[in-house]
């Protein structure tokens, strides 16, 4: 067990390091520079700009900057924003709760709706199957920003049921944003669930169980979970990237604060420390989720532990 834990911790560290490195490379290769962008319209002279860049260490060779960044990160220092001078930890901290509430709510909606659609598409009668399939395709083809604007017109403007501004994490405020993001998520979850169930239907043990005369719904329920359980966990891990970009659009649709907007602004303004901080957060969340998935898998099948995950 200890060996397993050490292994996971090492691989999580590796993920964090490689994500930070990829982000560093991507951002530094991208054209533009925080200071030049800030001062583009100010009338600052070349030498003034150069002095500012030097004061922040942005004129050092990239290799040196990279090592500086790593050593700062090792000391647990995420740095300060190049735009507003505030600590990156504070900037992320004040947005985190709003994003978590949105993400969890959306995952709940997406999982439940996706599951229902998947069951319908795989196990329903002919017409139900067709309908569920069509709905899944519709949802897969509908981007969040389009779904969101429709929802605002229907629920806020025409029906007047829900506010289009999501002020806090109250149920009323979360219903539309979580609903929209969740529904957008449910297409792929439904698709995976349907595929898993189709396979489960053909599996020999289902045939055996049928032959034994077990009630169909029981078989379906057990095997649905068997087929879906694995997919659920891996999907949640895999969706973390989508969740951030989906959250970005959702936040801007419902004027919510959150990590997505922070990231977009930081990328556009080349605010390197802030981007770096969000990337580390996203990598950390991803590592935690995938560790959780692996622990569950290992618990399920001790052989996997011996093989080393």
């Amino acid at each position: 067990m200890l060996r397993f834990a050490v292994q996971r911790a090492l691989s999580a560290l590796f993920t964090l390091w490689s994500a930070a490195t990829l982000a560093f490379i991507a951002l530094r290769l991208a054209p533009g520079d925080a200071i030049v962008l800030q001062l583009a319209l100010s009338g600052a002279t070349e030498s003034q700009i150069a002095a500012r860049r030097a004061a922040l260490g942005l004129d050092l060779p990239l290799g040196v900057q990279y090592l500086n960044m790593l050593s700062r990160l090792l000391r647990g220092d995420l740095g300060v924003s190049l735009v507003n001078g505030r600590a990156v930890t504070a900037l992320i901290g004040e947005q985190l709760e709003a994003t978590l509430a949105l993400a969890i709510g959306a995952l709940l909606v997406g999982t439940l709706l996706g599951l229902a659609l998947g069951i319908g598409a795989a196990l329903g009668g002919h017409w139900l199957q067709q309908l569920a399939q069509a709905l899944i395709a519709l949802l897969l083809a509908t981007p969040v920003y389009w779904l969101g604007i429709l929802a605002i017109y229907v629920f806020s403007v025409w029906l007047g049921w829900l506010p289009s501004i999501s002020r806090d994490n109250s149920l009323q405020a979360l219903l539309l944003p979580c609903g929209v993001l969740g529904v957008a998520l449910s297409g792929s979850i439904g698709q995976m669930a349907a595929a898993g169930l189709h396979e489960a239907k053909k599996a020999p043990f289902v045939q055996t169980a049928r032959a034994k005369g077990l009630p169909v719904h029981l078989i379906v329920w057990r095997h649905m979970l068997s087929a879906y359980g694995g997919a659920l966990i891996s999907l949640i891990g895999l969706q973390s990237g989508f969740l951030i970009s989906g959250a970005l659009v959702t936040e801007s649709l419902f004027t919510r604060r959150g990590i997505g907007q922070l990231l977009l602004n930081a990328v556009n303004g080349r605010d390197y420390p802030v981007v770096q901080g969000v990337v580390l957060l996203s990598a950390l969340a991803y590592s935690l989720l995938s560790t959780l998935a692996d622990i569950l898998a290992a618990w399920r099948d001790p052989r996997l532990r011996r093989q080393g995950l």
């Binding site: 490689s18 792929s188 189709h198 989508f242």
Partner: protein
């Protein structure tokens, strides 16, 4: 024909239509051919857009661009991601570790940043958008295939095949691949849908070269801005996207069922 059924026929028609768009489209997709924002009519079947261009002609011409994004994404994810995932899941060992670490690092990055870095390195054009959109689906896809391959390889019939003296590659080709195919194809459809939507989102965020060239995702994003005055633009692009994905999805199921 019966094998591929209605969805296949639809896709074939769509592909033909996109190839022959210059011949069959009623208008030039780039030209102002009427007043701006006309509702659908006999002259303009799907109305006109903000610039006064014919929406139907733009949908037809956009099919080629959207389908090529989808094809590039599908091919690159299914071939590259599929092969990697299959081998990693089946053989395990160092290959598996390498794939896992690489996909971990990619998955841990917000997809926006990933797409941005591709566009930065490769330039800002339609092909690059397609690649960037495909790349953000690749690691997830290879993980799904890997998981399937891993679960298949412990099945009794694989052990039986091994016991009968089949070589590793032959087991992989004859037994693991066919069994991993249905879920891989279905995940491939998701990857394709994601690629189309990712490309649309990148257009929405302002990447992607020439804004006047027709593309369904971009039309959807654009139609949304004039949604009050001209809902038909967004609805037309949305319907085209949905029908295509529905057809591809159904086709994938039919292929997998064989």
């Amino acid at each position: 024909m019966r094998r591929i059924g209605l969805p296949g026929a639809f896709l074939v028609c769509l592909a033909l239509a996109s190839l022959c768009a210059p011949l069959i489209a009623p208008y030039d997709p780039l030209a102002e051919v009427g007043q701006a924002l006309q509702a659908p009519s006999a002259r303009h079947w799907l109305g006109t857009d903000l610039i006064g261009r014919d929406v139907f002609s733009r949908i037809l011409h956009g099919a080629a661009r959207t389908l090529s994004v989808a094809l590039i994404a599908l091919c690159s994810t299914v071939l590259i991601g599929g092969a990697l995932g299959l081998c990693a899941g089946f053989f395990g060992g160092a290959l598996d570790w390498l794939l896992l670490s690489l996909s971990d690092a990619l998955l841990a990055l917000p997809s926006l940043l990933l797409a941005l870095s591709v566009l930065t390195l490769a330039g800002n054009g339609s092909l690059q958008i397609a690649l960037a959109a495909a790349l953000s689906g690749l690691p997830a896809y290879s993980r799904i295939v890997r998981a399937t391959a891993r679960s298949v390889r412990t099945q009794p019939y694989i052990e039986a095949a091994r016991a009968l003296g089949a070589g590793e590659l032959s087991v992989l080709w004859r037994h693991v691949l066919p069994n991993a195919l249905p879920s891989s194809l279905s995940a491939g459809v998701i990857a394709m849908a994601w690629a189309i939507l990712n490309a649309a989102t990148l257009h929405f965020l302002g990447f992607g070269g020439d804004p006047s060239l027709p593309e369904w995702g971009a039309m959807l994003a654009e139609g949304r801005l004039v949604f009050r005055a001209a809902p038909w633009i967004a609805f037309a692009a949305g319907a085209a996207l949905t029908l295509t994905l529905l057809a591809v999805n159904d086709l994938a199921r039919r292929l997998a069922a064989q």
